[in-house]
C-alpha cells in the first residue's frame, strides 16, 4: 500500500497550534509538556520523515498525558493519525483522528496537509459527528486521491513529479516495515526524478541505519545545502544535527608502508589508494573491509590480503607488510625453498616464473684523476660477471689500463723529466655455494714497465643462525717484482693478508659488518727512483720547515742523495666496521677503520655515504671521507748525514724516505654520485649509467716541497644486466 508524504510549511505552525489548542496557555504542566512534545515532533521527526521516532515520542507523551486536558491530548492524536497516514496505516489514522475529534471537537488539521490526511480526517469526522454535525460542516471534503495518490488534476502540493512522490512514499513504507535497503532504493529513485530535501534527509536516515555512514553523511550534507538555499529552518536543523552526529560516528583508515617498499598498489574494498596518500586518513563505513596490496621489492612480486572489522568512530591502521605468494599456490618444494630463503634473491630462485638460469652483468667505465702536484691518471676499465643463482656458481673478470703522467715536486726536485707510463691490470674470480658453505677465489695480475704484481686469494663463508650471521675468512697472497727500469727487476715484495669478518643482520633494515685484517709484507717497498735529500745535522736540518721549496732544499742539502730505503718487513693491522641502514627511500652507509702497523703508523678513517632514491630510476648520494694518521717511526722532515770519525765515511740513516703518505697528515674527501637506470623495471635487460666525482684535500704537517694537495677524481660508467 502506498503512502503519501509531503513537507509541511512551518511558517503556519504557530497558527495551527493556536487553533488546535486555544487554551494551551492555561494548561497545567502536563498539558504544556504534551503540547511542547507535539510541537517538537511536528518540527523535527515528522517533518524530516523520521516517522518511527515521531510515533514513539508521541505515544510516550500520550502515556504521560492521562490526566491532560482534552485540548492537550488532541494534538497528540492528530499527529499520531498523520504519522499513521503517512505510513500507510489508514485505519489507525482514522482512529487517531476520531480520538482527537472526540477529545476536542474544535480541533483542526494543520493547513496544507496531504490529500490523504485530509480525506481520512474527514472520514473520521463523518464517523464521529452526529447528523447535525455533518449537516453543519460547511467545509467541502478534499477530493479523494486517485490510485496514484494524486488529485484529480494530477497535482500534489509541493511536488512537481507524481512518480517521485510515489517513490518517496514507497521509501517511507519500506522504512516503517524495517526494509532499509528498499527504503534506500525507493528514495534514490525518487531523488532521481525530483530533488526534495526531506526525501534526501530520509534517504540519509536509512543509509545511516544501514551502516552506510558515508552515504548518509553525503546525503545529509546535500539536504543541509538545500535547506540553507531554501531557508528551510526545519530541514537545516535536522540535517545539521545529522551531519554532526555522522562525523563523530564515521571510522577512518590509514596505512603504514614498510621501509623500502616501492611501486606498491593498494586497494581498499576494491578502490585504489594512491601510493603517496597511504599515510593519510580516509573515512570509511563501519563493518568488514578488505585490503589488498601488491608490489615489488627489488623486482620480487609480493602481495598482501587482509580483512578487518571496523567499529564506529575507530581508526584502523593497516601495516603494509607484503609477503610472497600464498602457500596454496606453491608446491611443497617451492614452499620449503622460500622458507629457507635468506633474501629476495633466494626467493626468486624458488619461483619458476622468476627463475634466472643465468645472469650476466657487464660494465665499462672511464676514470680520471688529477691533482695539484701535476699527476694525472686516466683509467678505462671493463668487467663482466656470469652467475647461476639456481646452481650457486659465479665467474667474472675485469681488465683496466692506468695511463699515468706525473710531474710531481719529487720528480721536479730531481731535475727529472715528467714520466709517462701505462699499467695493465686484469683479474679473474669465481665462486661456488653449497648449502651453508660458500667459497670465492680470485687471481690478478698487473704489469708496468718496472713493476709486476701477481696475486690470488680464497675466501670461505658459512651461514649461521638461519643466515642471520655469516662469518667469512679469507687469505690473499701477492708476489711483486720490483724493478729499476724496464725488465730490470732487482727485488721482490711478498704480501700475505689474513682477513676475518662477520656480517650480522640486525633488523629487516639494517646490517653490520665487522672485519679485521692482518697484512704481512716482506721485501723492498722502497721506490728505486726516490732520492732522499740529506742535510747538515747542526747548521741546516733543524731549520728546514714543512713545505720547504725545491730551490731551498737543493741549495741547502748535502751534495749526495741516497736512494729511499724502507724497512723490509711491515705488519699491518686494521679493524673496521660497516653499518648500513635502509630508510624509506634512502640508505645510510657508515664505515670506520682503525689502523696500526709495525712502523708505528696509526690511522683512523671514517667514510659516510647517504644514498637517496630520486624516483624509481635514479639514486644519488653525497659522500664524505676523513682520514687522519701519524707518521712512521723513521719518518723525518729533514734527514741528516754525518761523517764517521773512524772510517771518515758518510753515515746516513738506515731508513729514510720522502714519501708524504708515511708522514702525519689529514685528508678530507667530499663528493657524490648518481646511478640512473635506463630501462623499465620489468625489462629483461637492465641498463644503467653511474657517475661519481670526489675532491680530496690533504694537509701534510711534516713534508718537504708542499704542505697540501687537492685532487679531483671521478668515474663515468655504463652497466648492463640480462638473463
Amino acid at each position: 500500500m502506498r503512502t503519501r508524504w509531503r513537507a509541511l510549511p512551518f511558517a503556519v505552525l504557530g497558527l495551527f497550534l493556536i487553533l488546535l489548542v486555544p487554551t494551551a496557555a492555561k494548561a497545567a504542566g502536563e498539558d504544556a509538556a504534551a503540547i511542547k512534545t507535539a510541537q517538537e515532533v511536528l518540527e523535527g521527526d515528522y517533518s524530516s520523515g523520521n516517522f518511527l521516532d515521531a510515533r514513539r515520542k508521541l505515544e510516550a507523551a500520550l502515556a504521560k498525558c492521562a490526566k491532560c486536558g482534552p485540548q492537550a491530548q488532541a494534538p497528540l492524536h492528530i499527529l499520531l493519525g498523520m504519522v499513521a497516514s503517512q505510513t500507510g496505516q489508514k485505519p489507525e489514522a482514522k482512529a487517531q483522528f476520531q480520538m482527537a475529534q472526540q477529545a476536542d471537537p474544535t480541533a483542526q488539521l494543520p493547513p496544507r496537509t496531504t490529500p490523504d490526511i485530509r480525506a481520512q480526517w474527514e472520514e473520521a469526522k463523518g464517523s464521529t459527528a452526529t447528523p447535525a454535525d455533518g449537516a453543519g460542516d460547511q467545509t467541502p471534503a478534499e477530493p479523494t486521491p486517485g490510485p496514484q495518490g494524486v488529485t484529480p488534476a494530477g497535482h500534489i502540493p509541493g511536488w512537481t513529479n507524481v512518480d517521485a512522490f510515489q517513490e518517496a512514499s514507497a521509501g517511507l513504507a519500506a522504512d516503517m516495515a524495517g526494509k532499509l535497503p528498499d527504503c534506500i532504493e525507493h528514495d534514490k529513485k525518487s531523488l532521481e526524478l525530483e530533488e526534495q530535501a526531506r526525501t534526501r534527509l530520509h534517504l540519509s536516515s536509512c543509509e545511516a541505519r544501514s551502516a552506510h555512514l558515508l552515504d548518509g553523511l553525503g546525503d545529509a550534507q546535500k539536504a543541509l545545502e538545500d535547506g540553507l538555499r531554501k531557508r528551510d529552518q526545519a530541514v537545516m536543523k535536522v540535517a545539521r544535527e545529522r551531519v554532526e552526529s555522522l562525523l563523530r560516528r564515521i571510522p577512518h583508515v590509514t596505512f603504514q608502508p614498510s621501509p623500502g617498499m616501492e611501486d606498491v598498489q593498494v586497494t581498499f574494498d576494491e578502490r585504489a589508494v594512491p601510493f603517496k596518500a597511504l599515510t593519510k586518513r580516509f573515512s570509511i563505513d563501519p563493518g568488514d573491509h578488505h585490503v589488498h596490496a601488491e608490489g615489488t621489492q627489488n623486482g620480487i612480486p609480493l602481495s598482501l590480503d587482509a580483512k578487518y572489522e571496523v567499529g564506529e568512530g575507530q581508526l584502523l591502521t593497516v601495516p603494509l607488510v607484503l609477503k610472497s605468494q600464498a602457500p596454496e599456490y606453491l608446491t611443497p618444494g617451492q614452499l620449503k625453498c622460500m622458507l629457507g630463503a635468506k633474501g629476495q634473491d633466494d626467493v626468486i630462485k624458488c619461483l619458476p616464473q622468476k627463475s634466472k638460469p643465468l645472469v650476466v652483468k657487464a660494465g665499462t667505465q672511464l676514470s680520471g684523476y688529477s691533482d695539484t702536484t701535476n699527476v694525472e691518471v686516466w683509467s678505462p676499465e671493463i668487467d663482466a660477471n656470469v652467475s647461476s643463482p639456481t646452481q650457486g656458481w659465479n665467474a667474472g673478470g675485469h681488465f683496466l689500463v692506468d695511463v699515468v703522467t706525473a710531474a710531481s715536486p719529487d720528480i721536479v726536485s730531481e731535475a727529472s723529466p715528467p714520466f709517462h707510463e701505462q699499467r695493465y691490470s686484469g683479474g679473474l674470480d669465481g665462486g661456488y655455494k653449497l648449502g651453508v658453505f660458500g667459497a670465492q677465489g680470485q687471481v690478478n695480475y698487473s704489469s708496468e714497465p718496472d713493476y709486476i704484481s701477481r696475486g690470488g686469494g680464497l675466501a670461505l663463508t658459512m651461514d649461521l643462525d638461519d643466515k642471520l650471521i655469516t662469518p667469512r675468512v679469507a687469505a690473499n697472497f701477492n708476489h711483486d717484482s720490483v724493478g729499476r727500469g724496464p725488465n730490470n727487476f732487482i727485488d721482490t715484495l711478498d704480501t700475505t693478508e689474513i682477513e676475518a669478518g662477520v656480517t650480522f643482520v640486525l633488523s629487516p633494515t639494517s646490517l653490520l659488518l665487522i672485519s679485521t685484517t692482518a697484512q704481512f709484507e716482506d721485501g723492498d717497498e722502497s721506490k728505486p727512483y726516490r732520492y732522499v735529500p740529506m742535510f747538515d745535522p747542526v747548521n741546516v736540518a733543524p731549520f728546514i720547515v714543512p713545505g720547504q721549496s725545491i730551490a731551498v732544499v737543493n741549495q741547502e742539502r748535502l751534495p749526495f742523495r741516497p736512494v729511499e730505503q724502507l724497512p723490509r718487513i711491515r705488519d699491518r693491522y686494521a679493524v673496521g666496521a660497516r653499518f648500513a641502514h635502509r630508510f624509506n627511500g634512502a640508505t645510510l652507509r657508515l664505515e670506520q677503520r682503525l689502523y696500526n702497523d709495525s712502523w708505528s703508523l696509526k690511522a683512523t678513517t671514517t667514510d659516510v655515504r647517504y644514498v637517496y632514491d630520486l624516483g624509481r630510476h635514479l639514486e644519488v648520494w653525497p659522500h664524505v671521507r676523513f682520514n687522519a694518521q701519524t707518521g712512521t717511526n723513521f719518518y723525518q722532515l729533514a734527514y741528516s748525514a754525518t761523517v764517521d770519525p773512524v772510517t771518515s765515511q758518510l753515515v746516513v740513516p738506515v731508513y729514510r724516505t720522502t714519501d708524504r703518505e708515511l708522514s702525519p697528515l689529514v685528508s678530507l674527501t667530499g663528493g657524490g654520485g648518481g646511478h640512473f637506470i635506463l630501462s623499465p623495471s620489468d625489462a629483461k635487460t637492465q641498463y644503467g649509467i653511474a657517475v661519481q666525482a670526489d675532491v680530496m684535500f690533504t694537509k701534510y704537517f711534516d713534508a718537504l716541497f708542499i704542505t697540501q694537495r687537492t685532487a679531483l677524481y671521478g668515474t663515468v660508467g655504463f652497466d648492463a644486466e640480462f638473463e
Binding site: N298, T461, D466, T503, T517, R625, N627
Partner: protein
C-alpha cells in the same frame, strides 16, 4: 719467523672476530624472517662496497698510509 708473524696475526684476527661477535650479542640481533629481508637485498644494502670504484680504491691506497680493515667485506648479509 714469517710463519710466526702470520700465526700471531691470525690469533689477533680471531680475537677481533670473537670480540665482534660478543659485541653483536650485546647489541642483540633480532630474528628476521626470510620474507622480511627484502630490504636487505637492495643493492645499496650490500655488506660489500658497491660504490667505491677501482680508481677510488687505488687513490685511497696511495694517499692514505692505512690499508685493510674492510677490504674483504662481504659474506652473507641475508641477501647473498
Amino acid at each position: 719467523m714469517k710463519s710466526a708473524r702470520i700465526g700471531g696475526g691470525i690469533v689477533r684476527a680471531v680475537l677481533g672476530i670473537v670480540a665482534a661477535a660478543m659485541l653483536s650479542t650485546i647489541w642483540g640481533c633480532a630474528h628476521v624472517a626470510p620474507y622480511e629481508r627484502g630490504t636487505l637485498a637492495h643493492p645499496t644494502m650490500s655488506a660489500e662496497d658497491p660504490f667505491t670504484t677501482p680508481l677510488a680504491n687505488h687513490v685511497q691506497d696511495v694517499s692514505e698510509g692505512a690499508t685493510g680493515g674492510l677490504s674483504g667485506g662481504g659474506g652473507g648479509c641475508g641477501c647473498n
